[in-house]
Subunit: 340 residues, 6 copies
């Protein structure tokens, strides 16, 4: 696979409004603001790795849209593909949990946002895909409204026609499908026929794609199901992660896998602590895409992506911002504690 043009992502940009210092919202007089989304996170990391990236989305033509746009640009993402209009920016309010109190996310304007109400005809697809070598899509846009679902499917189809690599993250969110896998199934299946690179877990194969396995252990299930998915939908690359928690939830073990050339490769297992978990999965996916573009050997690729995800747990905000150097430096010497 050769990627010469831009890497683009289609998806929602949301405002994240966070109560600081583990406060509940009713205790906070100040909120911290970021602008995030799966696509933003993926492209943020890829920009740090030196790729030319651009976000495709719709933002309102007001101060909130300006602010989101400025923030995304600061991450190194080109914003000239973004269309402006509609009424609102999607938002979520974040109350960080402190174990065992869970983190709480409250959405606002989820369904009325400019992105959610934009129809595919508003995007100039020909133009947007002209200079694109890889497009990233995700399961949230597939779920959130009829319009975004239609858009995701149309973009995937068009990209496939134009020979552009299509990467897709399952990102299944139960609430958006009324907790019913059957609702989601046909759309996931439809989309998968256009997909080249897929990010998913063994549970997605079981519940969304309705595939069966006799294995009971997670790694075995992955080894059994993922190749089946790849074959059934003719997807050349499938990747994902496995997590284990310790009792207090503040230390975790993370391991990545990649299926490619008909083999599954697992990374080492990394122990980590969590500063900000949101977007850490996107740290893995973007690492995989980078490795594919750079044609890393499989073992190196899955190791790179997993370490990138580990580091994404250690930086503030949803969007990974570690550089390639920082990933390598960790892989070569994870004992360094102060770099002077």
């Amino acid at each position: 696979m050769i990627v010469d043009g831009k890497i683009k992502a289609f998806g929602e940009v949301m405002m994240r409004l966070e109560a600081p210092n583990y406060l509940k919202l009713e205790q906070a007089r100040q909120l911290q603001v970021l602008y995030v989304g799966t696509g933003v996170n993926i492209l943020s990391a890829l920009s740090k790795y030196g790729h030319d990236t651009a976000m495709i989305t719709k933002l309102p033509n007001n101060s909130l849209g300006d602010a989101a746009s400025a923030y995304i640009r600061s991450l190194g993402i080109t914003t000239t593909d973004i269309i402006r209009g509609g009424e609102y920016l999607g938002m979520y309010f974040l109350e960080n949990g402190f174990h065992p109190r869970p983190t709480k996310v409250t959405y606002s304007n989820r369904y009325e946002s400019s992105f959610c109400t934009a129809s595919i005809t508003e995007y100039d697809l020909e133009m947007l895909l002209l200079d694109t070598s890889l497009i990233h899509l995700c399961g949230i846009a597939l779920a959130i409204s009829d319009k975004t679902r239609e858009s995701v499917l149309a973009i995937a189809k068009k990209a496939k026609q134009l020979g552009i690599t299509v990467a897709f993250d399952f990102n299944y969110r139960p609430k958006l499908w009324d907790n019913q896998y059957e609702q989601a199934r046909p759309y996931y299946k439809e989309l998968l026929q256009y997909v080249d690179i897929c990010f998913m877990a063994e549970k997605d194969a079981q519940y969304i794609l309705n595939m069966e396995t006799s294995e009971t252990e997670q790694q075995k299930q992955i080894e059994d199901l993922i190749p089946k998915v790849a074959k059934k939908f003719a997807i050349h690359t499938i990747a994902g992660t496995m997590r284990k928690n310790d009792l207090m939830k503040d230390r975790q073990w993370l391991q990545g896998f990649i299926y490619r050339d008909e083999t599954i490769h697992f990374s080492s297992e990394y122990k980590l602590k969590i500063l900000d978990r949101l977007g850490a999965g996107d740290g893995f996916s973007s690492g995989v895409i980078h490795g594919l573009v750079e044609r890393y050997p499989h073992e190196k690729l899955v190791e790179f992506a997993t370490v990138a995800s580990v580091l994404a747990h250690t930086t503030y905000g949803d969007s990974p911002i570690c550089t390639e150097d920082e990933v390598w430096s960790f892989m070569n010497n994870n004992e360094v504690q102060i770099e002077r």
Copy 2:
């Protein structure tokens, strides 16, 4: 007029998200949060003056609703009349202007909020008005949706029937009526038949009520039009303010008026600087209501209300929080600069 029960207000509670230090939203990483609304502002001041107050509104049953509720309670307002449900809390983002750059307000979820989508049947009117002696309504709820308009009218009618004093603030917002006075006119007229105390300006009489005057100067227009409105709609008390700005907009002259017992009384003219202009008008209205409840003589009443409004310009946030003592102390000696 005797007021024995609670003073209540029906209206929206919004989250105010403010970029600090005159930043534009795209420059801010932190926003300051308050929970405001005309009704909240009125009752905040009246609570400070010692009255028993309660807010009637609908808030979402989530962290945002909890936060709004906690904040309102801190102002001294009873929240047990608030119903919970629906999806969203209305919001506005505030970018403070610095003259000559104007202040910019960006709304979010204006029309999808729990309040805006609540129908009158959700409120147990009988129960809510049982212990009420005065109810405050405002032109925003009359404008914002068919449901809130229906509610305002129903509440006013019911209150009138029960002998509860009805106070109404014109609060005309052009955008909410597509900039067309004709759209608003019939509803204002319908509502006015239930109103006892009305807050308005001479412009409202001209443009909303379509009344004419041959006068050209503001004070003359007030003296001409306000009595006509009072007579036409049988409203016993009408009050409002006049403002003049200096060139740089940071110093202002404020003067209040009250029409009552068929006479108009004007307060002294006060010079003031502005810390936070939002809600300063509500500082006047609440001062008038307090004066009426306390049966102040007209001159004292209009003076008290105007000073209350002056002070409302000097405190942070939409909601006036000066006590009766602070108003009197200003009226008696506005030279004091440090109270030790």
Copy 3:
């Protein structure tokens, strides 16, 4: 036991001034402010559980009193029973420890506060207890001055006469009794004759009430001593907690117990981390009171109260602010890490 009226607490409200980010006071240029106290904490939780609550205390009639009052109201506690006057608000400065550096608390105006210098005659006891079904008292007010001691005893006695349930928390603070148990003993004994619900530990029975046990292990001591206390003082309900620390002090095991109907019930043991330990014990007591009012079976009651205390360690500030839903949700599924 049936509780129809309000739940009230009598006790001190203090200003908590905290150096942020583990700074020592000499490093801090900004302090974070809360208004706290055992009674406030208890009522904060009970308000969250839906009870009608009111604080009985005395606050100075100045800006500090206003601020304390506004804060308490925001927690859902009625403040109309609070009397105003005197000179000062009690304060403490909090320098958070970072293990093994201990947390340091420096009091200011402890003995000169409005509360501490108020005599029982200033409170209109008849009126205050009229609409009360349960009154919460604590050992700090019993200790801090002759006047507050006299008040606690008078309130307990009066409440008993009126058939109001009396809850009492031992809250023994050595410094307030010159480190001498004998000083405290007679007053605790006098008070216990009026008490229906008591919060204490096995150490309180040994040292304050001077009771003996041949057991050496904590749980055995509880099983031996607590029933004896209940019998001797005719207290129908006694509850408390046991804690164990790990080496680094940042992880803890917590277990609650309740003695009722002549049996002791122990909760499961919960492992927890600590965001803010102050007030976590009050999280347990308020959970017990809620369970009693709601007539939970004993096992459910002690489990609920213990989980409530666990969660109180995970929220900022002295006052527990988790809702009943949040407690249940934890009990049903303590694996959830993000609630979307």
Copy 4:
């Protein structure tokens, strides 16, 4: 007058707790902290001018005392003369006014502070004055308690005996004398017999010293009364300021005067804006002391002191922190707006 040793001040050090951004205390969750006092202010400026200074006071031996001490040291003041013990640090809470809303100061622990309860015997006077050439005293310590009054008088007397220059600031605070000049009069008179340099206004002469003038204009009154005071009490230097406000109170005219060698000299009149008015008077006094030590000619001296006071209005906090260079630079060229 020759000053070879240290310049010392005797007086209270208080904690200033300020609600930021013009908030009222009930709106603030964070307070800004400084440690201030007339003596601290005077010595802060004199340290900036290059003098060797030391504070004489009593601070509690706890975290608050440590913090006050560290802050004072950062201003350049030696703290080794400070004795430690007692219970409390005096405090005041500052709610900044926004004209016409006045600034509000609420004291806490005013009378129970370590300083206020310290008797003269606790200070080793001989030792403290050994290396001292000038001692600054003020009217607040003369007022606040019997013990501090006794101390001020004893120190003044002792200093006089030892040939140390005694500077005294009238600093009359009505509340501390029950608003009765007669209460204060004998103590001021007693003290003045030891004073060499005195800071006062014409009103002090009239009301505290009970002297009469037939003049009605302020400058004339000064010219009439100040020489009489100087003669009556044999004080070689008397200095003070006159202020005029504009309507909105945010611009002021300031003019200084000094009586010396039987003549009064007035400075130019300076227009100024106010960032922080507290301590600005001390900016004048310390300028005068500096000018006397440096033997400036009278005209230069009063000009220097007045400009120093002007600049003290433009820096944050009670304590003046402008250097001698900054004062001169202003005097030579008050047009510079950016120094690069």
Copy 5:
């Protein structure tokens, strides 16, 4: 003049470290950080007006360079032309004055910065100018080091050869030329032969270019000298501003002029207040460039540029961030105080 390609600027990017709230540096424990420079400011505004912009500079290849780059991108400026290497980022510490206390700027690493030590050979001039239609240069780079001077001259010469419009801002900083105009003169003269658009004042003509006028009033001097400069150096457009202050320095009158087609046009005079004066001159220059690119008539052009500069005084930071809409909206209606 037609501008089809990108607008670029060559110049330094500095870190601005600002003590908040008018504090002096010794009072601040937190500093606010921005990344600024004449080129950044010019391009920030032009990006807001819809132009495609890119910064040419050298930044260190470390965290500071990354941070500067991210910030510039957030302003809408392309950073791919920036070269990375060297040791340091130039910095300045900003202590905001409060009249009459002047603002103080303290530089750090001024002469050792990556930019200051970069030689012209490090920049791939051919490549950088390939897609450029206008290049902005400034007098600071002409002054700061031999290397930057050489670079500015080389870039101007090369641009002239390629038919690219050259804009130059005199930006004379005395300290950088040892306060000697003669030092600067030859280089300014050399550069001016390549310049198409020049930003300067009448003082620059007199002192740097050594031209004489018999006029004494500022406007007359401009009318006399600017045309002479234009003729002598064959510069088609020269523009600049005139300022007047009121006594307290917080209100100013601003007026712009443009010389073009052999005529001088003056804008209206605008009264303004100042939130942040740094970079306000760049607000004018960028307005002029925009007007030229958009071929505004002269009167409209100078009015637009002056209003843009007025607004640049009212936003935080050095870099203008008002949109074209905001400028027009002000020009059409400068009475609006709240935009809802």
Copy 6:
């Protein structure tokens, strides 16, 4: 050893600019500022232990130098020995790591600072050492420039001549010696002939002093090498620490040793968590110096110093600020979690 005069340190003072909350620099809009250095850290602790201390260094004569000076004074260190002049203050930007992401330090103006460019002739050595009983030097000044190296050697030699105790911390920083031990070796050896008290590790003996050991375990190597160093260079006291980390790097085991009177003494091993690791080694050294001055027995001395270092990990900033009481209180009872 008797220490009657002041304890002084010679070394650099740097500005530490820290991105808060684990942010990377590109995410931060605010930085936290401290002024630090090995000498400052040592003297900070010794001041807390009651010693009379003074810093010898050179600071620029501008706002940055004033700020550094004020901060150092607040720590209790006399600043009158500091000379002023030169251009810059050395700085470092701190991005706190979150394991496994390492902490990153970016220096600015390291080599151009006032300190780094000051030659020994600028310091009045005779005068500076006149009232000194012990002088602390460190390996950073030995490395950073020819001038500082010359100064360190000259000061050590002079102090030795005057009979002043010389303490020296190896503080080897590879980057400052181009990662070549041979470069550093001769200077360390030259300096050691003047040293009385030395802080070092077994690695320093091996690599810098080129000494060999057949031992492989750390403690054995210390026991073998340290006495050899002491003998070879006639150093009466050598001390240092050993650290072990757990897997996640947030818990550590610390143990101190001291060689004295021809014996090595090891402290207990302490487990600790880390709030701020910078300067924690200086917490140990200053504890050793205090113990030597106070003539603690060896066992008590090494225990005190190790606990002091443990506590230095638990306070914010480079400079240890725990008092002697706090160290003792920990040693006597490390179970206390809240001191009320």
